[in-house]
């Protein structure tokens, strides 16, 4: 349904070098499938999601949604309403001066849906119907994110994108909201691209996990497969850094160094300066194959 091929997105700003935030990423999402996209902050996850919505112009490569190219969002009326996005910060993504029912009605209007009442959607995300007449400031973060999800669902999306939809929420609300997004998307037959830096939550809801590092997807695989048997050294490092509540007092393994500057990525494999298993070939040639982009796992 959604097919991203060799996507390159560059940020240009005057007086600064061009930042290649997404540097040749390929990913696909099928209908009714939940794909989790994980990676450290600054690796290009959000830029990828914004490009899929048409919020960032594409430099090279292609994004096709149901066979149609995704074009940058302009001032004209948008035809491509099949993709809807839930943003990171529910304190900023809802209009503070309008009633939440009216904001959900905007979504319904996009889908030419006159039969549904905004209150029905509130009910679907687990909020009382009477909340439709209230303003965003009357809600907690978790409730606001539910409203943002209701608004996105109102437009009848065939692909829902969550750009770190849970990272601004309280820990106790995170798993709840993530599960809610999954259930609602899967029930309506839509695909879900769920972006998060929190692997333990992604693992709960995703069918497939894609791991991104510095603008590239380094590993894609089924959730259980990636979690139990990570192949790429970066995925291993990510999983190894999650502290386990076993009471043993083991400090989690630290991945040395920071994410390099995307404006000036290292030569060869992008992970080579931080990789514990670095080889000669890693410094010279970039592994550009999948599903595991690592010279240790070169397909025969």
């Amino acid at each position: 349904m959604l097919d991203i091929k060799d996507l390159v997105v560059e940020h240009r700003s005057p007086g600064r070098p061009v930042v290649r935030a997404v540097a040749g990423a390929s990913l696909s999402v099928r209908a009714g499938e939940v794909v989790g996209l994980v990676g450290e902050s600054g690796c290009g996850k959000s830029t990828l999601a914004r490009a899929v919505c048409g919020l960032n112009p594409v430099t090279h490569g292609s994004i096709a949604f149901e066979g149609q190219q995704v074009t940058p969002l302009g001032l004209r009326r948008r035809k491509l309403t099949g993709i809807q996005m839930v943003f990171q910060d529910p304190y900023a993504s809802l209009n503070p001066r309008r009633r939440v029912g009216d904001q959900i009605a905007d979504g319904l209007r996009t889908a030419n849906d006159t039969a549904t009442d905004p209150a029905d959607l509130l009910e679907r995300v687990g909020l009382p119907r009477a909340f439709a007449g209230r303003h965003p400031h009357e809600f907690s973060g978790g409730q606001r994110q539910r409203i943002a999800i209701a608004r996105a669902l109102a437009a009848r999306p065939r692909l829902l994108i969550g750009d770190e939809p849970i990272s601004a929420l309280d820990a106790s609300a995170q798993a709840q909201v993530a599960r809610l997004m999954r259930d609602l998307a899967v029930d309506s037959g839509a695909g879900l691209l769920f972006i998060s830096h929190d692997l333990s939550v992604v693992r709960l809801i995703a069918d497939r996990i894609a791991v991104m590092y510095l603008g590239k997807i380094v590993e894609v695989g089924g959730t259980a497969e990636v979690w139990d048997d990570p192949k790429h050294p970066y995925t291993r490092a990510l999983l190894g850094a999650i502290p386990k509540p076993d009471g043993m007092g083991v400090l989690p393994a630290e991945l040395a160094g920071d994410v390099p500057d995307p404006a000036n990525p290292p030569g060869g494999c992008r992970f080579n300066p931080r990789c514990p298993l670095v080889m000669e070939v890693c410094r010279e040639k970039e592994p550009d194959f999948g599903p595991v982009a690592c010279w240790l796992h070169e397909p025969a």
């Binding site: 450290e40 902050s41 600054g42 990272s167 309280d170 820990a171 106790s172 798993a175 830096h197 929190d198 692997l199 333990s200 693992r203 709960l204 139990d228 490092a237 990510l238 850094a241 999650i242 502290p243 386990k244 509540p245 076993d246 009471g247 043993m248 007092g249 083991v250 400090l251 989690p252 393994a253 630290e254 991945l255 920071d258 994410v259």
Partner: protein
């Protein structure tokens, strides 16, 4: 005991937030405070610094050495705050001032509390930046918070907290806003500093994994009460209180570990 909290009660607007909290922090030990949101973890931390919201009623005792922080006059409390007791907040993006250089933020309270001169304060700030492993400490001194990544900012926030050589460090969810790989680094740093400088650390976190990694003692809070306190290994592996057990069972990992 470096910090001794006994029967701390806080109520705001007639609502009891803390209902008698007892905690003891010892030098060179990390004391973890767990519990779900709304259980009063953060309020306990704020009470120690006298940073409770307006209109809060407090009773009990927070003993720092011989003094009771709750009855200390404001002037003396200001000496303690930032000097002997320091705090690291959850979100380094908002706890640092965006328009001041980190050098300014590192030296301001040092000059106030320790009475250092400009050059001395700067030398110490650069040394601190090195200690929390900020690369290029000299250049970093003159930069602004937005020029650093999230993990770096939290390291800077820790450096700011450590500047006046406090005895007690309160870290309120210090790694919640960070990536796991960065979190690992910050946790190692906290543990290292605690051992090296003999700090008494109160680590407030909802993440039992983080707790298990660095805390020596663990207390679990529920509805404004500490329901269980004990050494890390016992509390996390063999909890006595049903609530602690429920917390541990609710973790996504615990179920799969039993199955697999």
């Amino acid at each position: 005991m470096t910090l001794d909290i006994t029967d701390l009660k806080v109520s705001i607007g007639g609502k009891e937030i803390l209902r008698g909290v007892d905690l003891k922090l010892a030098a060179g030990r990390v004391h973890g405070l767990a519990g779900e949101s709304g259980s009063g973890k953060t309020m306990t931390g704020l009470a120690v610094l006298g940073l409770l919201p307006h209109g809060a009623r407090v009773s009990g005792r927070i003993g720092l050495g011989e003094r009771d922080l709750l009855t200390l006059p404001p002037k003396e409390l200001n000496q303690v705050r930032g000097g002997e007791v320091a705090m690291v907040f959850q979100d380094p993006a908002t706890s640092l001032h965006p328009m001041l250089t980190i050098g300014r933020q590192l030296t301001e309270h040092m000059r106030h509390h320790l009475g250092l001169g400009k050059a001395e304060a700067k030398a110490r700030a650069v040394e601190l930046l090195g200690k929390v492993r900020i690369p290029g400490a000299e250049e970093a001194y003159g930069r602004f918070p937005h020029q650093f990544s999230g993990g770096m900012r939290q390291r800077i926030a820790i450096a700011v907290a450590l500047a006046c050589s406090p005895k007690v460090l309160i870290a309120d969810e210090p790694t919640t806003a960070l990536d796991v790989t960065v979190q690992a680094g910050v946790l190692r740093l906290l543990r290292g500093l605690c051992d090296e400088l003999g700090l008494a650390v109160l680590l407030v976190t909802h993440d039992l994994g983080v707790m298990s990694a660095v805390a020596d003692e663990v207390s679990v809070m529920k509805d404004g009460l500490v329901v269980e306190t004990g050494p890390r290994g016992r509390v996390l592996r063999d909890p006595e209180h049903p609530y602690t057990r429920a917390l541990l069972d609710s973790l996504p990992d615990s179920a799969s570990d039993v199955e697999g």
